[in-house]
């Protein structure tokens, strides 16, 4: 990750119509609060996305139902999950299917709010697949690279929200001044 990557990433998101909020991990809950509609379901950070997120100060607002039933999911306006990776050149986020339900929570809703650590942004697609290769081989990872909202042009015009979310918001956790913390988080991830 470099500053250039972050600025490319946010510019791409802007092109895709994806709203971006950026701030330190401590402000995660506030940023999510502003981005999420009502009712909201989510997957606890760390159970969704990189393990290191569990130890970071980033949290979700209390109003988010983090143990949703299928009924909650069906009724939800917003789903909140973490992403494991961002791809700067494309404005893509890597969502990992996990037992905690990141995939359904990010998919069966009208708005998806994605929490991503700035440190997890890579420059381009080849970097993303270099990251995915070992994960796929060693851990059978299932990853969706999501770029903007769900879309279709099958009904005679471009429409967002074909089957998946109509809108996407990204909450970007900056790591300025918290470089050590981020490293520690990575290390923790490694140990686990």
């Amino acid at each position: 990750m470099s500053l250039a990557d972050t600025s490319t990433f946010t510019r791409r998101l802007d092109d895709l119509g994806v709203a971006v909020a950026a701030g330190p991990p401590e402000e995660c809950a506030t940023m999510v609060e502003a981005a999420a509609g009502e009712p909201a379901v989510g997957v606890p950070l760390g159970r969704s996305g990189p393990d290191g997120l569990a130890d970071s100060p980033a949290t979700l607002p209390d109003r988010v139902e983090t143990e949703p039933t299928t009924a909650d999911l069906r009724a939800a306006h917003t789903g909140i999950t973490a992403a494991s990776l961002g791809v700067a050149e494309y404005g893509s986020v890597a969502l990992e299917a996990d037992p905690a339900g990141t995939e359904p929570v990010s998919l069966f809703v009208d708005r998806h709010v994605v929490v991503l650590r700035e440190a997890d942004i890579v420059p381009d697609m080849p970097d993303a697949f270099d990251w995915l290769g070992p994960r796929a081989r060693d851990e059978s990872a299932d990853v969706v690279f999501a770029t903007g909202p769900s879309a279709t042009a099958d009904m005679g015009g471009l429409v967002h929200g074909a089957h998946g979310p109509k809108e996407v918001h990204v909450v970007l956790l900056r790591d300025d001044g918290a470089t050590d913390g981020s490293d520690a988080a990575d290390a923790a991830e490694g140990i686990q």
Partner: protein
């Protein structure tokens, strides 16, 4: 259709050909009903491709990388199949290698029965269309629901896809609204694209919740991990996999690549090449069985994360269905590199006009479909639509894995010609006119066009009579009935004095070799030599004015006309003859200047297959497009004042300064189309270049009765752009000239005729 075609072929010398009429009628109907929707969408995709690939810094390098991965993967295919079996099984899934469609369907029906599946939901998959698994499951009472919105529309309408990526491209919004109103009779019928989409989302959402079995295709499968990649935008594939506990993925064996890392160039290329999206909304890279909990939509109490008790089950059904045989077929093998992006459909003038319902076989459509259908279904299926590839070659630079799609069409056409040849035809009557290398009984229209060089020579020898006869009513009626040449087209008029005779009569080279800057042979291609002699003379004048020692030797045809008819052996013999004729000139260090762009393209592209590599390279390196050559001379210090500058003044005279230029399709592909523009501009002309990549005439294509209307429709955008221009219209291609003449009612000239000094 082979039996019909044979009947047609043997009947060709007699009265009307029923098969031919049917084809013309079908095309006319599609032009009227689906043509506009298909044209708007495909042209939009094609423009998008140019924009999106233009944003890549390393487009050509990515294409090379993608090509290399495919070559390697297909080379090692048996090994990759073994490897993916191991990795998928290690993940807890199952791999089934199905010999053919029936074998695959039997296996999938068993999986569905074991699961007790009542409903299967599917995301879009051309391979599943190929094996017709929906019908197979339906016979067991399984309710199969297509969840891709376009596919769902077609399922409701009981229609076939007209495009491999955007299957309902032929249906307008109004037609979809009508379909929904009719099928569901909703209180508040959806009308806008937004309303229609939300209506479909809700309906399908309910159906997905209750589904037991999820079926997907796979765009790529990595052997090293068993990871499959799905390229989608709607999110239905994600839901199909997540909402069901049993996942069946159907993929042709050719979808295997060695490693996950090798997905990367394809992810960057596939959306850009197809619909012009840098990347689609969702690139799912799944290593199934997936890790998501299985949502139990009937249980409202238990948290989702706990999942139902059911374990996830995964079956990768790899389909052979002719592919491993294609791998051993030198002409069809390249088809297996295809990533089904649809670039060749969208780039194709004929496809833009009629779509996949005409330009397609049982499953696949567009230029590459000839390879797929020939390999999977057989020659008969390919023969039904293979004619629609005119060899314009605009798909060649569009293909992200560099498949020579026109060549596959040519090679398959050759097989069709040979397969369908009927020895009972009265070939002896035309023996002198069709001295080709092809088997007796070949369709007469094919042979007449394929032997155009001989025909033209004969026509020019008897020019006054031949011309008068050729356009006489009764003769045209016979030509239409016997050879399928549409009487609405004007036939080219043969010149009494050929270019070669003119050059000899005027005393040969005007610039002596020892005073010349360069020495060149102007290639007297068949059209220039016998029909459009003026452009040949203009080329000689322009080159001599720039100090070139010019010769115009008598040389045989290039083989382009027989090539366009799939007469490969004849074309190859022509290449050898022409090379033999040119070799002494190449030995003497003379350049070869080519007036007809399709001949230059043949030298630079197809001759690679016909000549020894040294000969091919020698000729390709020494040959130039006429305008490319002039541009090069000017760049190297020749005096532009020797050429004709635009007229000064105002009014009608000044219109000569303003040029409307239509580059030839194949010239665009071999990247020489821009030299005319550059040369004109250097001389002070104001040039407007046509946006239309292929005029639709494509050699003999537009002459054929079956395709006359299609040909005119393909040229329509050209008429729209240049129809009322006051510019001087120029086009280097003979067939473009004929098409423009018909469309604009003004005979265009070759660019060299505008800039050459007056004769």
């Amino acid at each position: 259709m082979s039996s019909d075609a044979e009947a047609g072929a043997s009947d060709a010398a007699g009265a009307g050909d029923p098969d031919r009429e049917t084809k013309a009628e079908r095309i006319r109907e599609l032009l009227a009903t689906e043509g506009d929707a298909v044209a708007e969408n495909t042209r939009g995709f094609n423009d998008g491709r140019y924009e999106s690939t233009g944003r890549l810094d390393d487009y050509e390098a990515l294409k090379d990388e993608a090509r290399a991965i495919k070559e390697d993967a297909i080379e090692r295919l048996p090994e990759l199949i073994d490897e993916v079996r191991e990795t998928v099984e290690a993940n807890g899934g199952t791999v089934y290698l199905a010999d053919d469609a029936a074998d695959a369907n039997r296996y999938i029906r068993e999986v569905a029965a074991d699961r007790g599946a009542e409903r299967a939901v599917k995301s879009k998959s051309m391979t599943s269309e190929e094996i017709e698994v929906n019908d197979a499951l339906a016979t067991d009472g399984v309710d199969v629901v297509e969840t891709d919105l376009g596919e769902w529309v077609l399922q409701l309408a009981d229609e076939e896809p007209s495009h491999i990526v955007a299957p309902a491209i032929h249906k307008s919004r109004e037609a979809i609204a009508e379909l929904f109103a009719e099928r569901f009779d909703p209180d508040d019928p959806p009308e806008t694209a937004e309303e229609l989409t939300m209506f479909a989302r809700e309906r399908l959402g309910e159906l997905i919740e209750d589904a037991d079995l999820g079926m997907t295709g796979a765009n790529f499968v990595a052997a090293d991990s068993g990871t499959m990649l799905l390229v989608t935008s709607e999110g239905n594939a994600r839901k199909t996999v997540t909402a069901t506990d049993t996942h069946v993925a159907v993929a042709g064996v050719e979808k295997l690549v060695p490693t996950v890392e090798e997905f990367s160039p394809f992810v960057e290329l596939i959306g850009r090449s197809g619909t012009g999206q840098d990347v689609t909304s969702y690139i799912s890279t799944l290593t199934p069985p997936v890790d998501s909990p299985v949502p139990d939509f009937e249980d409202d109490e238990t948290p989702l994360a706990d999942g139902s008790d059911a374990d996830r089950d995964f079956h990768l059904v790899l389909i052979d269905n002719g592919r491993l045989a294609m791998r051993d077929d030198p002409e069809l093998k390249e088809t297996l590199y295809c990533i089904r992006c649809s670039a060749c459909s969208n780039a194709c003038g004929n496809f833009q006009s009629v779509g996949g319902h005409a330009f397609g076989g049982e499953t696949y459509s567009g230029g590459i479909a000839t390879g797929w259908e020939a390999g999977i279904e057989g020659l008969d299926t390919a023969a039904e639509f293979n004619d629609l590839c005119t060899g314009c070659s605009r798909c060649v630079p569009a293909c992200p894995v560099g498949i020579d799609i026109p060549w596959i069409n040519t090679a398959v056409r050759d097989r069709i010609n040979r397969g369908e040849a009927d020895a009972s035809q009265l070939d002896w009557a035309f023996e002198e006119l069709v001295p080709d290398e092809e088997p007796g009984g070949l369709d007469l229209a094919t042979r007449l066009v394929g032997n155009y060089a001989t025909l033209a020579k004969w026509g020019h020898r008897t020019a006054p009579i031949a011309n008068r006869l050729a356009n006489a009513g009764p003769v045209r009626a016979i030509a239409e009935r016997v050879a399928g040449i549409d009487r609405r087209r004007e036939l080219p008029e043969f010149a009494r004095e050929s270019l070669v005779d003119w050059f000899e009569a005027r005393g040969g080279p005007a610039v002596p070799a020892d005073e010349a800057t360069r020495a060149a042979v102007v290639y007297p291609d068949t059209a220039t030599n016998y029909v459009d002699v003026e452009r040949g003379k203009a080329t000689v004048r322009a080159l001599e004015a720039l100090g070139v020692h010019v010769r115009v030797p008598d040389l045989p045809g290039s083989g382009r006309p027989p090539l366009s008819q799939g007469m490969v052996a004849t074309a190859e013999a022509a290449a050898e003859d022409l090379y033999a004729g040119l070799a002494p000139h190449l030995d003497a260090g003379r350049d070869v200047v080519v007036i007809e762009p399709s001949d230059l393209a043949t030298f630079r592209r197809e001759y690679e297959r016909f000549l020894p590599v040294d000969s091919y390279e020698r000729l390709a390196d020494a040959s130039y497009d006429a305008m490319e050559y002039v541009f090069g001379l000017l760049e190297n210090g020749a005096d532009p004042a020797a050429l004709r500058a635009p007229s000064e003044g105002t009014g009608p005279v000044a219109s000569g300064k303003r040029i409307a230029y239509h580059p030839h399709c194949q010239a665009r592909t071999v990247e020489v189309g821009e030299y005319a523009t550059a040369t004109f501009e250097r001389l002070g002309y104001d040039v407007r270049v046509s946006d239309t990549e292929c005029c639709g005439m494509a050699g003999s294509f537009g002459y054929k009765t079956d395709y006359y209307e299609l040909s005119v429709d393909v040229g329509e955008p050209l008429r729209e752009q240049f129809g009322d221009t006051d510019r001087t219209v120029v086009a280097p291609g003979t067939s473009c000239t004929e098409q423009l003449d018909a469309l604009l009612d003004a005979a265009p000239r070759h660019p060299i005729e505008v800039i050459a000094p007056r004769g």
